[in-house]
Amino acid sequence: MSYDRILNTTAAWLLALFWLLPLAYAIWTAFHPAAFETRFEPLAPLTLQNFVQAWSEAPFARYFLNTMILVTGIVAAQFTLCTLAAFAFARFEFRGKGLMFALVLMQLLIMPDILIVENYRTMSQLGLIDTIAAIGLPYVASAFGIFLLRQTFMTVPKELDDAARVEGCSYLGILWRVYIPLAKPTFLAYGLVSVSHHWNNFVWPLIVTNSVETRPLTVGLSIFAVTDSGIQWSVINAATLMTSGPLLIAFLLFQRQFVQSFMRAGIK
C-alpha cells in the first residue's frame, strides 16, 4: 500500500469514527443505567430499563406511526402533483408557461419553512390546526420536485413519445408508460431528499400540532426531553434509538442497492 493510500484510509476512518460518536453515545447510554451516562467503564452493567421507561412514559409508537403517515403521505402527494406539473412544463406549449415556471421556481427560495407565521394563520382559517394534513400540505407542491422532474422529462427522446402517440396512447398513458419509467432514478433521489427532510422536520410540526394523535416523532421527542428535572440522556437516547432504529437498519441492509440505483439518477 502506498503512503498516500494509508493516509487516505486513516483519514476516512478517523472521520467515520468521529461521525459515529453521537450514535455510539446514544447506544452506550440507552443500554446502561443512568449513572453511566458520563462514565465509560467497559464493565458497566447492561440494562433494557431505559427502553421500558421511554416506552411507558410517552406514546412513541403513536408518534412513529404519525411520522410514517406524514412521510408516506407527503411523498405520495408530491410524486403525483409534481409529476403532473413537470410533465406539463416539459411536454406542452401553452400561454403563460414561462410565468408559471418562474412562479414555481420562486418556491425554491421562499420555502414553506420560513413562512410559518402566515401559513399558521391559513391553517387555522381552514380549520386544519392539529391535523397531519396541516403538517404536510405546505410542502406538497414542491418546486424542487417539479424542477428536478422537468429536467429529467426533457431528456426523454421525442421519438419515444411520438411512437406512443401513434399507437394511440393518451397523454396520461404516455406519461405513465414512457416518462415515469425513465425517470425512476430521479424519483428515488427526490424521494430521499423528501423523506429525509420530513423525517427530520421540527419547527413547523411543532407549531401546528397539539396532540398525541398528530405529533410527529421530532416534536414528540422534544416534548419528552424538555423537563425541569434536567436531561435524562439514557431515557431520551433510548427513545431516539427506538424511533430511528428502523430507518438506520434499513439503510444498513439496503445501502448497496440504494447507492447503485441512486447513481443512475444523475442529478443534473
Binding site: 412514559e57 397539539n210 425541569d228 434536567g230
Partner: protein
C-alpha cells in the same frame, strides 16, 4: 380513552356531544403544559376523570399542550380564532400579555364575596403577586415552584465544613464555595463550589439574588421596571464575581439541562435550581444531600415560578361558572396534595399542608417543607406587559455581563432603556 377524546374535541364534535347529553350539560376544555415529565400529565388526567365522575353534568377535557411556551401560543391562537379553551394553565408571567390580548377575564365576577375572602385569601400571598393586578384576580396558582439550594453533604464533609449547614448568606456562600472548589495538580478545577444555571432564562435564578439584595424588578401594574437599580447592579456584580473574582463557579453561561447531572457527578457541590427537581434529586443523587433556602443578603428572598389557571373570555357564563367550580375543586386540599406529591410543585394553599397525605409526605421527606417555608420571603417572578420582549432584554443584559462583554452597570442601563421603550405605550 382521553387521548381519543381529544381528537374529536373540535367545535363540531363538541356540539354533537352536547346534544347527546342532558340539556344542562356543560362542556369544558382546558389546556395544560407539563414541565416535569410524563407522570404529571397522567396525574392531571386522573384528577380530571375523577371530577367528571363526580359531576356528570360537566364534560371536561384536559389537553396536554406541550411546554409552557407551546401551551401559551396554542391558547392564544385558539382564543384569537374564536374557539378558546374555557380554562388554561399557563405561565403566571403571561398574565399581562393575556390581559393585553383581551382574552382572559378575572375570576372575581364568578365568586361570592365569601369565596373571595376564603378561597382567594387562602393562597400563599407570594403566589398571588403574579396572579392579581388592578385589584382583580386573573390567575389561580396551580403548578408553582420556587428555586432552592441543594448541597452535597459528602463534599461538605470532605472540605472540612459542617455537612448539615448550608450557607445562610452571600458571604458564607463565597467562603464555603472557596473551600469546596477543588483543583487537580495541573491547576484545573475538578469541583466547583456553586452552580447557578444562567442559560436560556437567567432572570429567574437571578431574582434569587436581586430580591435578597433588596430590589423588586417590576411594579405590580406591569408597566415599569427597575433593571438598573443600584441593588440590581450589586446582585449582578456578585453573580459575575462568583466566577471572575472568587473563581468558585464555572465561567460563562451555565446550562439548565445538565445541572442535576453536574450535581450527581460532583462537578458542583452546591446547585441552585427549582423545587421541581426534588423528586429527581431524591431518586438519583448517589450521596446524601440537603435542601436549603437561597442565601440572604439584606433579607431572604426568591422568586416564585410556574403556572396559574386562567379563565378565558370567549365562553358562556354557564361554562365560566363550571370552570371556576372545577378550579376550586382541583385546588382543594385533597386534590392539591395528590398533585403536589406526584410532581414536586408546591401546594399553593396552607390548608393543603394540614392534610394527612401531605403530613406523611413531609415527614418522610422534610426537604419538601423548605420550599414552602421560603414562600414567606418570595416575590413575584418578573412579569410585565410585552413580557417576552422585556424579559429577553433583561436576559440579554445578564448574559452580556456574565460573558464579560459589558459591566453590570452598562448592561443593566441598556436593558432598562430598552424596556422603557417597549413599555412606553402601557404607561
Amino acid at each position: 380513552m382521553f387521548a381519543n377524546f381529544l381528537k374529536t374535541a373540535s367545535v363540531a364534535a363538541l356540539a354533537t356531544v352536547a346534544s347527546l347529553n342532558p340539556a344542562y350539560a356543560v362542556d369544558l376544555e382546558f389546556y395544560f403544559p407539563v414541565a416535569v415529565g410524563g407522570a404529571a400529565a397522567d396525574t392531571i388526567e386522573q384528577l380530571t376523570a375523577e371530577y367528571a365522575q363526580a359531576n356528570p353534568d360537566v364534560n371536561i377535557t384536559a389537553i396536554y399542550a406541550g411546554s409552557y411556551s407551546d401551551a401559551g401560543q396554542k391558547a392564544l391562537t385558539a382564543a384569537r380564532g374564536g374557539t378558546p379553551p374555557q380554562l388554561s394553565v399557563l405561565l403566571s408571567t403571561q398574565m399581562f400579555a393575556l390581559i393585553d390580548e383581551d382574552v382572559i377575564v378575572p375570576f372575581d365576577d364568578y365568586l361570592s364575596e365569601e369565596e373571595k375572602a376564603d378561597w382567594i385569601g387562602g393562597f400563599y400571598p407570594s403566589f398571588m403577586e403574579n396572579s392579581q393586578t388592578g385589584g382583580k384576580t386573573y390567575g389561580i396558582p396551580f403548578q408553582r415552584s420556587t428555586p432552592v439550594l441543594y448541597w452535597n453533604k459528602e463534599a461538605f464533609k470532605a472540605a472540612g465544613l459542617d455537612p448539615d449547614v448550608a450557607p445562610a448568606n452571600w458571604d458564607e456562600m463565597v467562603e464555603m464555595g472557596k473551600a469546596l472548589t477543588l483543583k487537580d495538580d495541573a491547576g484545573n478545577v475538578t469541583q466547583w463550589g456553586v452552580r447557578i444555571p444562567s442559560a436560556g432564562f437567567p432572570y429567574w435564578l437571578f431574582q434569587g439574588l436581586s430580591t435578597p439584595a433588596g430590589a423588586i424588578l417590576a411594579n405590580s401594574d406591569g408597566n415599569k421596571v427597575n433593571f438598573n437599580d443600584a441593588k440590581v447592579v450589586e446582585a449582578l456584580e456578585y453573580l459575575v464575581d462568583l466566577s471572575k473574582t472568587h473563581e468558585i463557579m464555572q465561567p460563562g453561561s451555565i446550562e439548565w439541562g445538565p445541572t442535576p447531572k453536574a450535581f450527581f457527578e460532583g462537578e458542583a457541590a452546591m446547585v441552585w435550581t427549582t423545587t421541581g427537581n426534588l423528586t429527581n434529586m431524591r431518586n438519583n443523587a448517589p450521596f446524601d444531600f440537603g435542601v436549603a433556602m437561597l442565601p440572604a443578603k439584606e433579607r431572604r428572598g426568591a422568586p416564585t415560578g410556574g403556572g396559574n389557571f386562567y379563565l378565558f373570555k370567549d365562553s358562556s357564563d354557564e361554562q365560566k361558572e363550571a370552570a371556576v367550580d372545577f378550579v376550586q375543586w382541583i385546588t382543594a386540599p385533597e386534590q392539591a396534595a395528590t398533585w403536589s406529591i406526584a410532581t414536586g410543585y408546591i401546594a399553593p394553599r396552607a390548608e393543603t399542608w394540614e392534610t394527612d397525605k401531605m403530613k406523611a409526605y413531609a415527614a418522610d421527606f422534610p426537604p419538601a417543607l423548605v420550599a414552602r417555608d421560603q414562600l414567606e420571603f418570595a416575590v413575584a417572578e418578573l412579569s410585565t406587559f410585552e413580557n417576552g420582549k422585556v424579559t429577553q432584554a433583561f436576559n440579554d443584559a445578564l448574559a452580556a455581563a456574565i460573558a464579560g462583554e459589558m459591566t453590570a452597570q452598562q448592561a443593566l442601563d441598556e436593558a432598562q432603556a430598552k424596556a422603557e421603550r417597549i413599555l412606553k405605550p402601557y404607561q
